[in-house]
């Protein structure tokens, strides 16, 4: 075909349009459609808002929502820990590169792998409790995985352990891109490490911190499936203690074969994530401005 034929650009983008239309376009339309239908197998009759009424009236759904909201408590912890570690690495103390390599390691390990390892470490008769007993910290010996009161907090600890690493790397790369002269000036003025961090460095990191907060929020809402699937034994256990929205959708779709219910929850989840994405775009635009 001749180079300047007006059809050429469309041939180049055609595969993209087909792929995205198949995976996203068709799916999102069908998703909304299913959420108003009583689907058995592959289709079913329209039932209006019945799916939504059923979901919103079900205590397990609200319990899942509350669990996802509790996971948001990890975000301030991760921001603070990552900030301190990034600022310490930025001091470029001897050996800081090795620390950087190690501190990023948790983010390299796949969630299912690390969740299995942690699950064994935190068993009631496992090594963590053995160490706590040896240190005479018996009051801290808990049934980390098996107790319904504790399990979600164990999941949160695991999330903090792994996802903080991303914050460290994001914050450190922002610090590395800063103008060094200002920091030198502060150092020459005799500012202490704490003063320099608080008055010079952190104010310039506002954008990247907000960015990390928003992507973490999206993770807590819609990307913790692998953590709870492994820790909760595939069922959000013990009982429903680690049930989250993703697992609720998974169960409704695969275990109880109610695609209509699963679709209604997915639509709600999608709506909330759109709000968060909107926040993300605002944060990024402000950072670029």
């Amino acid at each position: 075909m001749r180079r300047n034929s007006p059809l050429v650009p469309y041939l180049f983008v055609l595969p993209l349009i087909c792929l995205l239309a198949f995976v996203f376009g068709l799916s999102l339309i069908r998703l909304v459609e299913f959420s108003f239908k009583q689907v058995r197998g592959i289709d079913g009759p329209w039932i209006g808002l019945r799916n939504y009424e059923l979901v919103l009236g079900q205590p397990l759904f609200w319990e899942s929502v509350i669990h996802n909201l509790k996971l948001f408590l990890t975000i301030p912890v991760m921001v603070m820990v990552a900030l301190v570690l990034a600022l310490l690495l930025y001091e470029r103390l001897p050996g800081w590169r090795i620390h950087r390599t190690i501190l990023f390691l948790p983010y390299i390990l796949a969630i299912p792998i690390i969740a299995v390892v942690m699950k064994e470490m935190f068993q009631f008769s496992g090594p963590v409790n053995a160490v706590l007993t040896a240190l005479s910290l018996d009051f801290m010996v808990l049934d980390w995985i098996g107790s319904a009161d504790v399990a979600l907090w164990t999941v949160m600890g695991l999330i903090v352990w792994r996802e903080t690493a991303l914050g460290v790397i994001l914050f450190l790369s922002r610090l590395m891109a800063l103008d060094e002269s200002l920091i030198e000036a502060a150092r020459l003025d005799g500012a202490s490490w704490r003063q320099r961090a608080w008055h010079v460095l952190i104010p310039q990191m506002r954008g990247v911190i907000e960015f990390f907060v928003v992507i973490s929020a999206i993770t807590m809402l819609s990307a913790v499936f692998a953590y709870v699937y492994v820790i909760g034994g595939g069922r959000g256990g013990p009982g429903t203690a680690t049930m989250v929205i993703e697992l609720y959708i998974f169960n409704a779709l695969i275990r109880t074969s109610l695609p209509g219910i699963a679709a209604a929850v997915s639509v709600l989840l999608f709506a909330v994530s759109l709000l968060l994405i909107w926040a993300l775009f605002r944060v990024r635009r402000r950072e670029e401005a």
Binding site: L31, W96, L105, I108, P259
Partner: protein
């Protein structure tokens, strides 16, 4: 220079916490079952390699890894071809609807994968695509392509126009320009994309447990998620399995650390 023990101490504690699970995994994998039951935390009296032998020869872990590798190769390859073609046209040609296509594709990065499982599962059940490599590859390729397009468009736009003009003067077609001029200059972003996308597909659990349910088609992540249940209480054996499953990414990370870090930071934008 002043000696400053406190920052050193803080970094060392953080590094220890980051490292302990990996060390526990490796040390326990080398411990005899009886010894682990008596002592959960100590260094092994003698290294036992039998658990690794059992994992490698008596479990389907190689099959699972091969499945994961097929999915990674298929979806990352398909996505790269689709994304390179589209990104070249979007970055370097004028046509109606160009900006709309880029906007929609970029916006799709924001769709959480979990909201797609219901319609795709119903569709795949009807088409008989559950537990097929092709079906899963299409889904993974779809999920990773919007980010690839976004990254490549940005990069292709930064290439100097003179290079492309010169190729046009020589009578090259657009496909030839893409293959011979643009792609050879884009090796760094392509490598970043391969790393981010391969890591996403290799590490994914959600799509793997839904769309590859047959035992013969299980991925390594879906396989190890059920591992502990099957080898209940044989914790050293389980840890050997985890170590084998973690090995490819650990080795790649330590070898290509810089590309990994750059790739993951770019990937976090997803």
């Amino acid at each position: 220079m002043r000696l400053r023990p406190l920052p050193h101490l803080a970094l060392s504690i953080a590094s220890a916490i980051a490292l302990i699970p990996t060390v526990f995994m490796l040390v326990t994998a080398l411990k005899a079952q009886e010894e682990y039951q008596a002592d959960k935390t100590g260094w092994p009296d003698a290294f036992v390699f039998d658990h690794f032998r059992q994992i490698l020869f008596d479990t389907p872990i190689f099959l699972w890894m091969a499945n994961s590798l097929i999915l990674v190769a298929g979806s990352v390859g398909l996505s790269l071809v689709v994304a390179c073609l589209a990104a070249y046209a979007i970055a370097r040609m004028e046509f109606r609807g160009r900006d709309a296509i880029l906007t929609v594709s970029t916006a799709l990065m924001a769709v959480p994968p979990v909201v797609l499982i219901v319609p795709l599962f119903v569709l795949y059940t009807r088409l008989g695509l559950i537990s097929t490599y092709g079906g899963a590859i299409l889904i993974y390729a779809g999920l990773i392509t919007p980010f690839s397009v976004y990254l490549l468009v940005t990069f292709f736009r930064s290439l100097p126009q003179e290079l492309i003009d010169a190729a046009v003067m020589d009578g090259a077609t657009h496909l030839q320009i893409l293959m011979r001029v643009v792609l050879p200059l884009s090796l760094a972003p392509l490598l970043t994309l391969v790393i981010v996308n391969a890591l996403f597909v290799w590490n994914d659990l959600l799509m793997a447990v839904i769309f590859l349910q047959d035992d013969a088609k299980k991925t390594v992540m879906a396989g190890i998620a059920v591992f502990q249940g099957r080898y209940n209480n044989q914790i050293p054996l389980t840890m050997a399995g985890m170590a084998v499953a973690a090995a490819p990414m650990l080795i790649l990370y330590l070898t290509f650390q810089r590309h990994f870090v750059r790739g993951l930071m770019a990937g976090a934008v997803k």
